[in-house]
């Protein structure tokens, strides 16, 4: 372990020495700087009007480009930075994943988690697109693992795994050094025999772990302070300089109002907590459902579906910028340079616009529900 976390309730408050730095490479986040195509496409899990589940590729007009039926509820979609190939994972504790092409040129391939493991809903690609990494549960040993998949053949082959650095690994993203992965270990113990029941709320210890994807060794762990041990760290976005933004879900009392956003500077290990203004504190239902960085790297958006609100923070200073109301909104995808596409459980897609007032509705499908996450598919 090269560094550990320090706690700050708000950014840039207090001293706290920066601990030993991680050696990270040059900038180059997964979505940073990419130009918007004329017809941008997005992918997300969706519940259909007939109650079935699917992964859908859609445009800003809300018209489906591709619908891939799933055997159960899906969660997030990882997009290969090289080929545009996508991997969609089952929502925990599901055991299926789907590999598909945005173009629909090849039929989707469904594959299963290996015995003794289930998926947590998120995955990431290696920079060359040959390998994929999935957050998984080793529920017998009660530890989080990262499953490693070789995508070079017709079907993804699981070729290994390594420790996630904690329990309940949820989101996983590549860091811009091309070698490290960052994992948000939510800290919550579950077992498929007990469905989605949380088994260790009193003793949970969430963290954010940086792992060398080639050796599987843990390069750093950021822990929360003891009094925030119930803040499950779940969803992330990575900025160009390797700064990681993390959204939390608090498992303690709703009367407590901890900060729900954190950031980790992987260059120096600084781990900060970011609060919202007083008039919003206590009105967010202690729950962040999705976190996304704008294309220009200036703004971080976090959705709070239980409160029907989207929060915006400055990626540079960590300061709260503004918020918008949108009922049941959870999915957030980078849209134009500073904007976001917002999806919600009532089937709507809207645009953040000036990030105040109401988002502008772009499409509103009847009887469908967009699931937690939505991702922009950049042209390969």
């Amino acid at each position: 372990m090269l560094w550990t976390a320090i706690d700050r309730r708000s950014l840039l408050v207090g001293g706290g020495a920066a601990l030993a730095a991680l050696a990270l490479g040059p900038d180059g986040a997964r979505a940073g700087g990419a130009e918007l195509s004329e017809d941008p496409l997005f992918a997300a899990a969706r519940r259909e009007a007939d109650g079935s589940h699917s992964i859908v590729v859609t445009g800003l007009d809300g018209i489906d480009r591709q619908v891939i039926p799933l055997p159960g509820r899906g969660h997030d979609v990882a997009v290969c930075p090289v080929s545009g190939r996508c991997l969609a994972f089952a929502r925990r504790p599901g055991t299926f994943a789907v590999s598909f092409d945005v173009s629909g040129a090849r039929p989707p391939v469904v594959f299963e988690a290996v015995p003794g493991r289930h998926f947590y809903g998120h995955g990431a690609f290696s920079p060359d697109g040959r390998l994929a990494f999935a957050t998984e549960n080793d529920y017998v040993a009660n530890r989080g693992v990262i499953g490693v998949y070789d995508l070079s053949g017709d079907r993804p082959q699981r070729v290994g795994e390594f420790w996630s650095g904690g329990i309940g690994p949820h989101d996983i993203l590549p860091l811009p050094d091309g070698r490290s992965l960052v994992v948000a270990n939510g800290g919550i113990e579950t077992h498929p025999n007990k469905g989605r029941e949380k088994l260790n709320i009193e003793t949970m210890q969430p963290n954010v772990t940086v792992i060398d994807r080639e050796s599987g060794t843990v390069r750093g762990v950021a822990d929360l302070p003891a009094h925030l041990h119930k803040l499950s760290l779940r969803h992330m976005a990575v900025g160009g300089a390797g700064k990681v933004w993390i959204g939390g879900q608090y498992e303690g009392s709703l009367e407590e109002t901890p900060p729900l956003m954190a950031s980790l500077d992987t260059a120096d290990g600084r781990f900060l907590l970011h609060d919202v203004p007083d008039d919003l504190r206590g009105r967010l239902a202690n729950y962040v459902g999705s976190v996304t960085m704008s294309r220009d790297g200036e703004v971080v958006a976090a959705s709070c579906p239980r409160a029907g609100r989207i929060l915006y923070f400055s990626a540079k200073t960590g300061a709260f910028l503004s918020s918008q109301q949108r009922a049941d909104a959870c999915g957030l995808a980078a849209l134009d340079q500073g904007g976001f596409l917002i999806s919600d459980g009532q089937g709507s897609l809207s645009e953040s616009g000036d990030r105040t007032g109401a988002p502008m509705l772009l499409a509103s499908g009847a009887g469908i529900s967009w699931d937690n996450h939505m991702v922009a598919i950049d042209p390969a």
Partner: protein
């Protein structure tokens, strides 16, 4: 979805509510009459198109179009059941259309003189943006709200033929919707038969909450996406463009139909009547609906002109205030009385 739980709800009251009644009552009291009404609006459109395209006045068509806008607005507020299957909601009107899909597709279709769009049956297989009342507006009205239909020249003939196909298609889609509501299948049936294996609703309470949330989405769509920008800042033309059918000077007709439809749907469902604590909401809903419709009736049909009139702008701002109040009453207090606690992601995220 619903900003519930702002009112302390007696648990006992929720336990006594019969959640199985709401969707069947919505079907018989709203979905069927509203889809039948849309079906009845189509023949007048067809005869109006024929009159305008054979040298007659465009007035009968314009009048029939306004009736059809109100009928579409009313029905589309429901957003669930037969409307959710096979993109039927989009087939009757492609709303919202923030990216101008209808304009682009219709313009291209007319330029290409695509003969396959001139048959109502074949039209169903085309893009949903090319087959609804929103497409008919682009075909039949100019930017000043004047009826364009006239059998003059090749383009005029094509517009007339396409308009006729659109009117026929709208009638067929309305029939399809009525039929699917009358003989439940798809989502209509799923909401009638909650069960553990039902992917939409395991209980009647979940099914009722699904319908309630859809109606609240419609209310928010009108309030946040149409009226709030309309009375806000910015160029009048872009503000007016947020209101569907404002190009044909039917923006207020759309808003009136939508508010009327919402009120009818809530009433037919019997949500407010189900809880003794919530009965006062029945009168509030009727009272506020009447106020909003009365205010809208006094706003000129040309919304862009209306925005330059202080009195008319004030009336639109008043309608916004009414809808804001209704959102609080329905999404807050009524939702709490009924113990409806939120939407798909809010209830069960990850």
């Amino acid at each position: 979805m619903v900003a519930a739980a702002v009112v302390a709800m007696p648990r006992q009251a929720a336990a006594e509510i019969d959640y199985s009644r709401f969707w069947p009552q919505t079907l018989s009291g709203f979905a069927l009459p509203a889809s039948n009404a849309l079906g009845k609006a189509a023949p007048a459109l067809a005869s109006g198109i024929e009159a305008a395209c054979t040298g007659g006045s465009g007035e009968p068509f314009a009048s029939a179009f306004t009736e059809a806008v109100e009928a579409v607005a009313r029905l589309s507020m429901l957003r669930v059941g037969a409307l959710a299957d096979e993109n039927r909601l989009e087939r009757i009107a492609f709303i919202p259309d923030g990216r101008g899909v209808v304009r682009r597709q219709v313009t291209r279709l007319i330029a290409d003189r695509d003969e396959t769009a001139l048959d109502a049956t074949r039209l169903r297989g085309k893009s949903v943006a090319l087959q609804g009342l929103t497409a008919l507006e682009w075909v039949a009205f100019d930017k000043d709200g004047k009826v364009l239909l006239a059998d003059s020249g090749e383009e005029g003939a094509y517009r007339c033929a396409y308009a006729a196909a659109l009117a026929a298609r709208l009638g067929e889609t309305a029939k399809e919707i009525s039929g699917a509501f009358a003989a439940p299948s798809g989502q209509t049936a799923l909401l009638l038969t909650p069960a553990p294996e039902n992917g939409l609703a395991k209980t009647h309470k979940e099914a009722a909450g699904f319908v309630f949330n859809a109606l609240m989405t419609s209310l928010e769509l009108i309030r946040d996406q149409m009226l709030a920008p309309l009375v806000g800042e910015g160029a009048p033309a872009s503000r007016v463009a947020r209101v569907p059918f404002s190009r044909s000077h039917n923006g207020t007709a759309y808003l009136s139909g939508a508010i009327g439809g919402l009120s009818q749907a809530f009433s037919a469902a019997g949500f407010a009547q189900a809880s003794g604590d919530g009965e006062w909401i029945v009168n509030t809903l009727d009272f506020e609906r009447d106020n909003a419709l009365k205010a809208l009736a006094a706003v000129p049909a040309d919304l862009e002109a209306a925005l330059s009139d202080k009195e008319a702008s004030g009336r639109l701002a008043y309608v916004l205030t009414v809808l804001t109040g209704l959102r609080t009453t329905l999404g807050g207090e009524l939702a709490a009385y009924l113990d409806f606690r939120g939407g798909f992601n809010a209830l069960d995220g990850d």
